[in-house]
Symmetry: C2
Subunit: 449 residues, 2 copies
């Protein structure tokens, strides 16, 4: 094996070499590494000067493969400091989608300057791709497509791929188009390999192709690729003309990105990168959710304030009400998370709402009775106050059922309203179970004492 793939040991070796002044040895060690491993090293180094020194000794091909593989944050740091000449060399070697991602990191005037320097083909492709929104099919596609006419023979198509082998290094399918560039079908590489050279591609092409529009949301694109097990998807404009393709490696990125976004949204974090940020940026990213939570928590406190008399009389109620709210919040988040994820993966549909709701409510009733009895028993043993125990048990049952209802209906409702269920569900679910939990427990208690 000519490239070393054991990144752990080599990473230490590279870090050790950074302490010395021997660029040739550094270059020699890096030459043996896979660009994805060089990218890992660049990502893990804290010092931008160290990143730049490593990047400087890479040959242009490795440099472009490496910069494609680093995290967005590292990419931003690098391009800010690299010379125009270096970036130009990298861009010419990248596929159009990766070149566009790189250039979109730059301020507009520098981007313009670099596009002026670029080859006409690169400049045209990147400028086209820059017009699409980042999270659409157009935003993740590349323009390098192998497109042939129906009458072409397998031999001709093979020659064509060979002539453009740089553009088609990751070709999975050859697309067949009509003279207006409208998509007719596709031929997978395997079929090309197995067919005789003089076979017409029109004869062996598959016409059951899924094509996506440039404006389709990337999440929907990923669903289609996954559902139909596609390695590459043709992208068409509103005239059904072939304008690009999306490859499976980009689909994988979309799938991870969407899962990350949902997970962070459920926890109330916005579009924050996973790499450590500066304290000020972290603060800014977290503040909106905490500010919103301050308002809802204050509403909860105001609810509690309605029962000040009761609390003065039965001070332990202050502790017990938090059990009711906490159980409700947890149960609600369980239900909500399952539904948000089920909706995102297409395994649940809003049409199943009643069935989901029924099951959740029954389960909540069951667990409510069990947990209510258990907590009632604990409190009875602790304080010997039967009325207090019964109030706690009843409030628990009621709040768990409330949790099941809001945990189910909130995300399903957002989905029906075409609002992303991941974004606003948790605040609504937790606020409801908190406030109603306090209200039910303290309300019942007030009636009893």
């Amino acid at each position: 094996m000519s490239k070393r793939l054991d990144s752990e040991t080599t990473e230490q070796e590279v870090v050790a070499l950074l302490g010395q002044d021997d660029d040739n040895r550094l270059r020699a060690v890096l030459r043996d590494l896979h660009p994805a491993d060089v990218a890992d090293i660049l990502d893990s180094l804290e010092d931008i000067e160290a990143k730049l020194r490593i990047f400087a000794v890479l040959d242009p091909d490795t440099a472009s493969e490496t910069i494609r593989n680093v995290h967005e944050q590292t990419q931003g740091l690098l391009v800010e400091r690299l010379s125009d000449a270096r970036i130009s060399a990298v861009i010419e070697r990248l596929d159009s989608d990766d070149a566009t991602d790189l250039l979109s990191e730059l301020p507009e005037d520098r981007r313009k300057l670099l596009l002026d320097r670029a080859s006409p083909e690169t400049s045209r492709d990147v400028q086209e791709l820059l017009t699409y929104a980042e999270d659409t099919a157009g935003g993740i596609m590349k323009t390098e497509v192998a497109a042939v006419r129906e009458v072409a023979t397998v031999g001709e198509v093979t020659d064509y791929i060979r002539r453009h082998s740089d553009d088609f290094h990751d070709v999975h399918n050859v697309f067949v188009t009509d003279p207006d560039n409208r998509l007719l079908g596709l031929v997978p590489l395997r079929k090309l390999l197995l067919a005789a050279d003089d076979t017409g591609v029109g004869v062996i092409m598959e016409t059951e192709t899924v094509a996506v529009g440039v404006d389709m949301d990337q999440e929907e694109v990923a669903h289609l690729a996954e559902k139909y097990d596609l390695l590459s998807l043709p992208v068409v404009d509103d005239q059904k003309r072939l304008v690009g393709r999306i490859t499976i490696d980009d689909i994988v990125d979309v799938i991870e990105e969407e899962a990350t976004e949902d997970m962070l949204a459920l926890a109330g974090v916005g579009h924050e990168p996973l790499a450590p940020l500066g304290a000020l940026e972290t603060m800014r990213s977290r503040f909106p959710w905490l500010g919103l939570n301050l308002l809802t928590a204050t509403a909860g406190a105001a609810t509690i304030a309605l029962f000040e008399e009761t609390i003065r009389e039965v001070a332990i109620a202050a502790g017990l009400m938090t059990i009711v709210a906490s159980q409700g919040g947890n149960a609600g988040v369980q239900t909500m998370t399952l539904i948000v994820r089920g909706l995102a993966l297409g395994e649940l549909r809003p049409a199943q709402a009643w069935r989901i709701l029924g099951g959740e409510c029954l389960a909540a009733l069951g667990n409510g009775v069990l947990l209510g009895a258990l907590s009632g028993l604990i409190v009875y043993l602790w304080r010997g106050n039967l009325a207090l125990s019964l109030v706690l048990s009843s409030a628990m049952v009621i709040n768990l059922v409330i949790a099941a209802v809001v945990g189910s209906l909130v995300p399903l409702g957002f989905k029906v309203l075409r609002i992303d269920p991941a974004i606003s569900s948790s605040v609504l679910v937790i606020t409801t179970t908190d406030i109603l939990g306090f209200f039910v427990f303290l309300g019942l208690l007030t009636m009893v004492v």
Copy 2:
């Protein structure tokens, strides 16, 4: 296009046909659908009899492609009711990995019976695959590999693929092995297509291949495939002999599965399918977390009980303490979720712990001061009690910093201890911010009043 891919309208059509007694029309409509769309319809139907009726009219090839695409739950329902002959026919048409998944749904005696009926090849492959743990490379690989010797020519390899076109319908690479079946390298289809027929594969093979061991965790396999942009990964046994391959569609499934698992684990849901379960199963799945939460919430209530005197005196404290706990819990969950996801995707490493912790604490201090001042102001305007306001503000700052510390260190610590950070982090983080939130606020207040 011979297959219709517009699933929405056809689904309604199929449902309408189920109400009639015309199997031929049903068969005709289904024949025009992609098996992945038939699978969607089977998943969405509530009634098992309806699922069976649709499945019964599918031809054997479509039936096997369809059953491969339905959710695990639907698959379980179907195989339970299908005849042995029907399952046998399906199994012979499936790839070894899918056949194994299907058979693993069945009780052992029925599985044995079906394996006795199966072709020797299928029986051998499935029995081998059943020996591997579900979440390892062996558990997701298929045994159908295109393996050739170094001396084979491109022409010979092409013939070989043609002869086994059923097994190699999704071939991306041809693997090159030595006489002991040890992996030497691989040749992507594209290289085969572009090379002359008399070229030896040893000349054009790529030797920088990533091979994974049968026991490697599926999550690690997915990371490798993603990092090196691989469409298929060779799997080797402990003697480095080639035993199978993992294809990108299975990698995509692993990526989604792992993200789902983490998301559910963070919300305290165990291995629960996303499709609606019966109430009893739902109850059982949710109970452990709620039971654990009852204990921690009771510990919180006991903490509050330490300050009964203070609460009796300043009853509004019962409301205000929940603001402190709630803000801390939310901030802790924000930090924790980012770190859990960052660790899962390999974008964060435990080695960065101090840098992360520093940034989080500073950000928490900043937000704590802002939110503390804001909440103090609200309470001052509301109650006109300056001491109470100051206690609230101070407790908020302290609890947000506590949240930053536990939100960072808990998942990082679990990672270092090789415990899945997604599973136990939230309960620890929320419990700590709740209990310490109550304690700090009520403790400070007790000193003041």
